[in-house]
Symmetry: D3
Subunit: 255 residues, 6 copies
């Protein structure tokens, strides 16, 4: 019996082995209402990456806002990989007694990104808890979390409007995120796991539907990248972002 061929990023003709164009996105679907007790929720399926995104609105603000006399509301995010989301089981944070550093970094990014989508004054004295739990990981869990969390947040704020708790939507930006990277010298949009593991450069873009940046994180892990590579990655990212905004709009419209 022969060994299974190890999956690679490119086929022998130098094309992406899953058939996408270098600036192509994986297929993305939303299943809204996956967690009915949340104010808004969706299951984002982005290729083989699946993340439960739930937004729970609490009628209270964190203590530090009271102490510092800050008005308006707050948005905070928690990110976790379910233990069976990875190929070999990942130990729970609660068993380890603390979160791993990568999760801390990602949930801080999610929180900052979504706060940029909202007028916190209009949100009122409320906290929007954003929970992103990865059900299956195949690259891009942080960008899927942000993109899905925006849909869940939009569903939740629409509910606030419908329930008469706020007079108008506190949303001020439409937010999505996508990864871009350089693999074997080629710039690629939306890396799946096999590409991400081989990437010399990995960049995550969080942008608004108006084409403005919220967050930009490019990393050359044990590598570097040139200004020209940066510009090409920015261009690919813009392409992906335009498509993502469309998909989000459709998902939100379905309620």
């Amino acid at each position: 019996m022969s060994e299974p061929l190890k999956e690679t990023s490119f086929d022998q003709d130098g094309n992406r082995s899953d058939g996408r164009a270098n600036d192509g996105l994986r297929e993305i679907r939303f299943q809204n209402g996956i967690a009915p007790h949340a104010t808004g929720s969706t299951l984002i399926e982005w290729g083989n990456t699946r993340v439960i995104c739930a937004v729970t609105i609490e009628e209270a603000v964190p203590r530090w806002m009271k102490y510092q006399n800050v008005s308006g509301g707050w948005i905070t995010a928690e990110y976790s990989m379910l233990p069976y989301s990875t190929l070999s089981r990942k130990q729970r944070d609660s068993s380890r007694g603390k979160q791993d550093g990568r999760s801390v970094e990602i949930q801080r990014l999610i929180g900052r990104s979504l706060r940029s989508a909202v007028d916190l004054e209009k949100l009122g004295a409320r906290t929007a808890w954003i929970d992103c739990d990865v059900l299956q990981a195949d690259g891009g869990t942080r960008t899927a979390s942000i993109t899905g969390a925006f849909v869940a947040l939009a569903l939740a704020t629409n509910k606030l409007v419908t329930d008469g708790l706020v007079s108008e939507s506190p949303l001020i930006n439409e937010v999505a995120a996508v990864s871009v990277g350089v693999v074997e010298g080629k710039t690629l949009l939306d890396l799946r796991y096999v590409e991400d593991a081989a990437a010399a450069v990995d960049m995550n873009l969080v942008m608004t539907s108006k084409g403005e940046f919220i967050e930009l994180q490019g990393t050359g892990e044990e590598s570097t990248f040139t200004p020209d590579q940066l510009q090409e990655m920015l261009a690919y990212g813009k392409t992906g972002m335009d498509r993502l905004n469309e998909i989000q709009k459709t998902a939100i419209a379905q309620g």
Copy 2:
């Protein structure tokens, strides 16, 4: 605008307010393969209670088995309520830095129950990790976890057989669980949240398809129950168990 009527266990005629007979089960459905990276997984929907049950087989045994020179395999369970599973958001264990006592108690019950389903020698030097993550809680999360975990475990052990890792299935018992209780003097099968909160007695039964007991836990929180009530609860439990075994069989057969 008038206050919404508070939900009660019984309607004005003394019938269960969701229309079930006193020994009736809620509707139960399985969605297998919810977490494809696990060896076996299912989403059990039991009325409004939803639990992700995933079984991951690891080719290793815990250290204590090596130290104590115990042969065969092991089964261990972890139970967690996702923060958006409850009506008001539940803080994550990883944020609190430790698991709450109730979760510890439940995951120990799940582990014991499923170990009774398996011949650990036939499992071989493997660990079956059972993860139960509650997506929505409406009473009976522990019985749904056990009932769903058995389905996921059967899917996982079937895969071991298919992949040629074991020569025959290590399953020796078909395991399911159901709750019974006493509410306003009436014995009820399969309590949903509103009934559970009003119950004077709450009993959880874990049984095999042959009608034998694996675990029996009856509790009169701030209350007591008589031997006659015990016998009636056991009878109701048996009724439910027979139905559950059928539903599980169907779900497992779908693969």
Copy 3:
């Protein structure tokens, strides 16, 4: 020099090796006032199992009762095995940084059991802290803890009456606990360690002196039990319970 014979549950005639009838209890003694700073305390010696049971009444209730506006008092339990209670030294919870799961499960059981003994309204806005510290473990530490804790609780509530802090005793049930099990096919009452380790089924009964159940926990660890075995275990348990109530009464009367 020859190896010492390993202790077994039964002698060669099939009788219990410590000479007890199958439905016989070990010898039980109480040493009240072991911890004079507690409101009520006793050292229960149950065969070779010894547990310090102390009840401290605090003139305050937990925060959650205030938040939820619950009147009356509360009872909470903590259970710990002293490191020298076992044959090989057990690491302290405080060194491990957290309690082990078994202790969490047991102290929740103790708390529920004793709350059923008390009219929490009559206790007034007080917390009864129940501490059970195992000095020596030879099987049945949880049932000894509950049985001893009831004696300590009765001593403590008697003191509340004597000190004029409550007008009448808040006790409404007399509570005791005992184990029953199946070892090599025989039903046995009150398992000591060697029997417990060999048991196919282990059941703990918490009952009132009126013969009603507070808690019933039967477990077939890697095994199952039949409805007939369940009924026999219940009958043995009742026998033990009647004797325990007498012993407790005598101990409480000694003050």
Copy 4:
């Protein structure tokens, strides 16, 4: 009804209110074998202070000894106040998730003190775990712990000799400890709680029966003391130590 008189250190004639001479010890008793699973154990009752002292010999040494290639054995101590040992209940360390600083400091003192009693080479590749659990606290819990732990250690090492595990006793010093202090300008031996709380200076002496020092800790909390006061405290301490060595000898002889 009149207020109970608050207890004071001295009566109106300036004598100690419990009738002792200024250089007098409280009554001390030992109850050996309180924890039979330990290798050696005793309950020391020193006035109203009671401490369970247990020594468990483990046939292994800590990892750091192996890494650093240190021969011989090790002695380590753990100290804990049981929650009901104080007038108002003290929260368990395991509930707090960590030991309090005072306990850490005391158990390090106990460990150092007892290591000076033993030839660690003669102990062999073993660890002596010393556990001191305070059952009732009325001042001097650390000196009672050391004095009682020495008795338990002597019982344990005698057992090693009897069992043929060591050819001769590894004990090289007889160790006891006592407190001395300055209260309202008077030097007092062996402070009980009411005296300790009023003391300007508090000194703990750990000495051998040959009159040599193992540890000397004098503290003027929010106060200072003169060289003359130091010399008087040392003299009082010597008086107490001679008496303690006698009491220990008698206790050890009883086995």
Copy 5:
């Protein structure tokens, strides 16, 4: 007596209130050898921000490298703010029992950045621990940490060469970091605290002396930024970087 004027970013003419050009750096000094037990160390003073940067070479690699059979060495970083580095005292992580999220995020950034400076194969089977402890914080502690850590790392690797432990320097890139931001619509290089607190956009650049990027992190906290603003920030960053490389070279040359 009048209130002190609150410090602002700009004076009334719209110039930076500390007199710098918009693309000017604060004054930077290095005091090498601040921690002589480290393999290499420096105190970087960057305006009023001061960070102790120490690199300790350990002759061992992390366990995961052995398990995964990865050759070469490793670089890991820890970042901490000393409690007196901020205007109001910051609680120690060890008192809180865990690191705060911001510190976790920063130390991961420092580790990634410095790993890009080194050929890990040439480092050999060693770990370089990079410790950055902030003595005084006035904005830019992460960029000062990276810039100072590179100097400490160069000193440490030079020592490896001098001591004959490696045959040639494992350094492959010269690494520095600087912040750029947008304050009141103006792009500014190297933000001090007052500017950082007022910034709509904050970007950190980690680059090599060849003008390539290692890491790029731009954040619009509760704000966004345009592609044009991004390009201007990149240009300002390049200006700063060139100056930083010179200052580092001089500091390293001093040994």
Copy 6:
């Protein structure tokens, strides 16, 4: 190439190998203002031991003082060894998740010692946080911490007077600390690491400039010491203390 000679306490003539008299101190220097955000700070360099001592005055008192209705202020200390202060890198407490026992013991000593220097009533309702972070460790870190912390505290309280927050200095004692020990039978003042590691007895003295004791801690780790040795150590300590008070006065005068 020959092995470097291992450093020893004494040269071949029996003199201290660093040339000091047996009752001589190492050279001591202070660098005030090392941490400008603290209310008072100094870097004490005591031979090769270096400790950052910072005092931060907070306009609040701990909660327990409010609960217990204690007037005046409070002083609390934290002690930590920076990871690069030792020859092999010491793991951070925050990575370990808790402080090690030695640090707990030392910081409690520092806190007690400095509280004796201050009239807490005159300090007013303030907390003085004393932070001692060891930059380099070569023996005597606890005595250097106390001696340096007093200088930092004097600078901080002088600032309180200058700023008009207190009408007169709350300082009532001038406090310093020094170690004495017995090495190879010789009494030595102020042990550096090589001497400390070889010492049979180690004593730390905390005294006032009036020659009174605040704290006295003598330890014979795996050893004992005689009354005569105690007296000689006390005499040497007094000699050191007189010199230390002079050095402190000079350092404080420099402001």
